[in-house]
């Protein structure tokens, strides 16, 4: 998936400066700013209604912000900038296909709309692993295949920046892995990827940097690992319940909170060395598992709400 030509762009590919957008009384986007560097996979993470899609639409030039500015490749996106269109690729919902065309015809149509050469069609099909389904009509593709075809339609014309709105929404774990593989390859080829997602694990697994959004604002912005590391939350150490009951675990030095569900005893601690040392003395180190904090904990500490409860998914 090597880029045909690599333009040496200086500065950020995407520049978002203090965007505001309101719908009636709702502040859909309330002062969002960030930069994306060339070749980066940048994620907008947040529950539904956080304003991710509106931010993407403003950057793509589909919506006018009330105030603030979005710039792509050193050019403003509003008023609508035709010169930018061939340099960006946008994956919209997987339903945005023409009726009753095969996967290849669909891509051919988009390639011709962008004036891209025909050979790109087969390359893009191969990139998303749909070569064998080229002659299947879009209605007959599985959810994962349709999402990958929508992705191929977004980069068939070799854009510099690819925008993905919830690329893996509703996919099973295996299809999601395949999609992630394609997205990583896109970025490895030198393209910049800006995506929205409400899946914590997708942001952790895929994104170089993540902006956590809620209620139209960016609450935190950094590499997922760094966001988690800066978080002062306990790690979880779990052992099989038959090796150690919750009651005996509570007597361990350094245990802050202990929960037992009959199968597993889980110890929350900020002093993991001390707790693990005591487990070692009881010869339990081989069966102990340590789970670090995740972006879910980051969201919880930023908003005071559990992500599960607000995301409305999973």
């Amino acid at each position: 998936m090597e880029r045909a030509d690599t333009t040496p762009d200086h500065g950020p590919t995407v520049e978002v400066i203090d965007l505001h957008k309101r719908y009636g009384d709702v502040r859909a986007v309330d002062g969002v700013s960030f930069h994306v560097a060339p070749g980066e996979i940048f994620g907008l993470l947040g529950p539904n209604g956080a304003g991710k899609t509106t931010v993407l639409e403003i950057i793509e030039g589909l919506r006018q912000p009330d105030s603030g500015q979005a710039r792509l490749l050193d050019q403003p996106v509003w008023p609508r900038n035709q010169a930018l269109l061939p340099r960006i690729g946008v994956q919209l919902q997987a339903s945005a296909f023409f009726d009753r065309l095969t996967a290849r015809e669909q891509l051919e149509t988009f390639a011709s709309l962008y004036g891209a050469p025909r050979r790109r069609v087969d390359e893009a099909l191969a990139d998303v692993g749909l070569t064998d389904s080229a002659r299947v009509r879009v209605e007959k593709l599985s959810g994962g295949q349709a999402q990958r075809l929508a992705l191929a339609c977004a980069f068939v014309h070799d854009p510099d920046i690819v925008f993905l709105d919830e690329p893996s929404a509703g996919l099973d774990p295996q299809s999601r892995q395949q999609l992630w593989h394609v997205i990583r390859a896109l970025a490895a080829g030198g393209r910049t990827v800006v995506m929205s997602t409400h899946y914590m694990e997708e942001a952790e697994a895929l994104c170089d940097r993540v902006a956590i959004m809620d209620a139209g604002q960016v609450l935190a912005l950094d590499a997922p690992a760094r966001l988690v590391r800066h978080l002062d939350v306990p790690v979880l150490v779990s052992v099989p319940a038959e090796c150690m009951t919750a009651d005996s675990a509570r007597r361990l030095d350094g245990a802050e909170r202990v929960e037992g569900d009959g199968a597993t005893t889980t110890i929350a601690t900020r002093q993991r060395a001390r707790v693990l040392h005591q487990l070692d003395q009881r010869h339990l180190l081989d069966v102990a598992e340590v789970t670090g904090a995740s972006l879910e904990d980051v969201f919880l500490s930023l908003t005071g709400r559990r992500y599960h409860d607000v995301s409305g998914h999973r």
């Binding site: 589909l62 061939p86 009726d99 065309l101 015809e105 962008y114 004036g115």
Partner: protein
């Protein structure tokens, strides 16, 4: 886009074959030999009136009594029963079949007059001469074909444009197209070209089927029907675009398109001629685009009037295209929200 359209059996059937089906049904009923209609008639008794009933009009059957004949007329077996008993001639006829009943009454009345004249031994002072004249009220296929063709063109274009626009909007195709560097006009032109091609195919199919199977009598400049259909299709596409711009969902677009097309089909006289319609209805018909498409088609297809005669009608259709397209562009939305 054409491929996508042709692969959809439902829409292909609806816009191409469904109207053709109507042509076949109407053609079988009214087309072909449009000679005089024959009536089933029952007769009983003896006398000059009974003997003189003309067998060119009536399929006659004898019955034993007036009561039996009246019973069978009531059952719908025949339009009337005629009985002669000496000097008295009695007719019982179906109330529901106006034409048949009046025909029988007229014939029997004249036969009775003739019998009276003969009985008086008089001679005829006046004689009646009749001859058929070719008139504008077209018969059979020559009326049906332009009517059904104009109707087919109108539903194809209105539904095609409205549903395409709404589907592309609701499923995000429009948004996606907006993000490509291809000009909107180019995309619209491609879609319009598909519709025009289908309308021409439709016209060819109608002319062919009408001519080959139902003895459609085409007049000299019939090939002008093709450019007329093109102009008509543009007018109805623009109406469809307006419907698609107003409607938010495919269901709403369908309903709205039906509301436009169905009353227009009747008010414009595509199925039933407006010759006997009340005056207000004929006035309404004059402002409907379908009327003008129908008149233009009739002029070139069956009335032998030449292309120039269609120009006023085509001007109205072009006007409709301009007004509806302008309104549709004003109301156009790229996406749902």
């Amino acid at each position: 886009m054409l491929r996508g359209y042709v692969r959809d059996p439902a829409s292909l059937f609806f816009s191409l074959l469904f109207p053709l089906l109507f042509l076949v049904i109407f053609g079988a009923v009214f087309g072909g030999d449009e000679g005089t209609r024959r009536f089933d008639l029952l007769a009983t008794g003896e006398g000059p009136v009974i003997d003189a009933l003309p067998s060119e009009i009536f399929d006659m059957e004898r019955v034993d009594s007036l009561a039996e004949g009246a019973g069978r007329v009531a059952d719908g077996d025949a339009v009337a029963v005629v009985a002669q008993d000496g000097d008295e001639v009695t007719v019982r006829y179906q109330a529901s079949d106006q034409v048949g009943g009046q025909t029988v009454l007229g014939v029997v009345a004249s036969l009775v007059d003739r019998a009276n004249l003969d009985a008086l031994g008089g001679t005829e002072t006046y004689t009646l001469q009749t001859q058929q004249v070719e008139d504008e009220s077209l018969g059979g296929m020559e009326f049906i074909t332009p009517g059904l063709l104009s109707w087919a063109v109108s539903i194809g274009a209105v539904f095609g444009a409205a549903l395409t626009l709404v589907n592309w909007r609701t499923r995000g195709v429009l948004r996606r197209l907006r993000l490509t560097p291809a000009p909107v006009t180019e995309i619209a032109a491609a879609r319009v070209a598909v519709s025009l091609g289908l309308a021409l195919a439709q016209t060819a199919l109608f002319l062919l089927v009408g001519r080959l199977f139902f003895g459609l009598d085409l007049s000299g400049p019939w090939w002008w029907a093709f450019p007329v259909v093109l102009v008509g299709t543009l007018a109805f596409l623009s109406i469809g675009l307006l419907v698609g711009a107003v409607a938010s969902t495919a269901d709403a677009a369908s309903t709205l398109a039906n509301l436009v097309v169905v009353p227009m089909a009747f008010l414009s006289g595509t199925f039933v001629p407006l010759d006997n319609a009340p005056g207000w209805m004929r006035v309404v018909a004059q402002v409907l685009p379908l009327t003008h498409l129908l008149e233009a088609l009739k002029n070139v297809m069956v009335l032998d009037r030449g292309f120039l005669s269609t120009l006023p009608h085509l001007a109205v259709l072009v006007g409709f295209s301009a007004v509806c397209s302008a309104a549709a562009i004003r109301l156009f939305r790229w996406d749902q929200t």
